[in-house]
């Protein structure tokens, strides 16, 4: 009986520790998944323009590699946003970098060509101007 309660106590302690570990786990700063496709930012936008539902299904929450020209950069608290050019002034890809994966001194310059890996999360068409935006998170420059 004593053995049983000892086992129960250890099991409960283990389960509690396991639950605590999962609860305290931090959100990933960069994706560690393998990239499933390589595109230019313009080609990816072209694919979404041609078949939004199909592209969403294909790339939703997936890690992809993108090559593109830097159009704009923004530093916001612990995040750096790099905007890659689309096919016209209304289109772009926004890539979110945590400051620990892209120090401020290493932010690429506007007009520079870069290659990034990140997780695709959304394609949005805003109705007032019809701007088109692809949103990426957990990015890193490769």
């Amino acid at each position: 009986m004593k053995k049983f309660f000892t086992f129960l106590f250890i099991a409960a302690l283990g389960a509690g520790g396991f639950a605590y570990y999962f609860y305290q786990q931090k959100t990933e700063k960069t994706t560690t998944d393998k990239s499933i496709a390589v595109f230019t930012s313009k080609d990816l936008l072209t694919e979404f323009n041609a078949n939004e539902a199909g592209a969403n299904k294909k790339y939703g929450d997936q890690t992809i590699t993108l090559e593109g020209t830097v159009f704009n950069t923004t530093v916001s608290d612990n995040n750096i946003l790099i905007e890659l050019e689309g096919n016209d002034a209304l289109e772009s890809v926004i890539c979110n970098f945590d400051i620990t994966s892209l120090p401020i001194e290493k932010i690429p310059k506007i007009g520079e060509s870069i290659k990034i890996k990140g997780k695709f999360i959304a394609f949005t068409i805003e109705p007032l101007m019809e701007t088109k935006t692809i949103s990426m998170v957990q990015c890193l420059i490769i």
Binding site: Y23, Q24, Q25, E28, T74, D77, N96, A122, T124, T133
Partner: protein, 197 residues
Amino acid sequence: MIGIKNLKLAVLSGIALMFLFAFSNKKSDNSDKWLTKTGKITFKSTADEEIITAVSNQAGLVFSQTSGNIVVSIPIKSFIFEKKLMQTHFNENYMESGKYPNATFSGIINKIGTINFGKDTTYDVSCTGQLTMHGQTKPLVIKGTIKISKNANALINCNFDVKLADYKIDRPKLMLKKIAENINITLESDCSKFAKK
């Protein structure tokens, strides 16, 4: 008689051309628009037992300085939480971001004509519109400020509360002390005047 017919034809052709011109330019004329694709939205839930915050830097905001029309859209999955489990629960259990990927506010900036976009000044403004989130659309009035600066920037700040029940976002009984009934939303958007590349 032929003269009158020709005159009618000329007038009708003129009207048709005016319509054609107006509609063909409707989409491409964005010279009065201001926008950002990197607006910051913070949400804060202050409950008895826990304070939860998340931030997104990927809010798209567009407004027209002539009509006052404004649209803010944000991909739900762009909200970043400190804890991974909270982010997963937020997307899967509460916001159902796979089914409802964006939250959108669409409305009008009241009395936009009183704003001088050529002068460094901060204006108190209010917006009347509708917020669509989690598949539900509700009317919303938001108060905030627009700070105009000479280098063609418009900094928009606002703060408002949303009631989760209004958007059919359920709080399980076990979480009533951990997730607040009303969530505080803060928006900071540094908009630039649209310029074609």
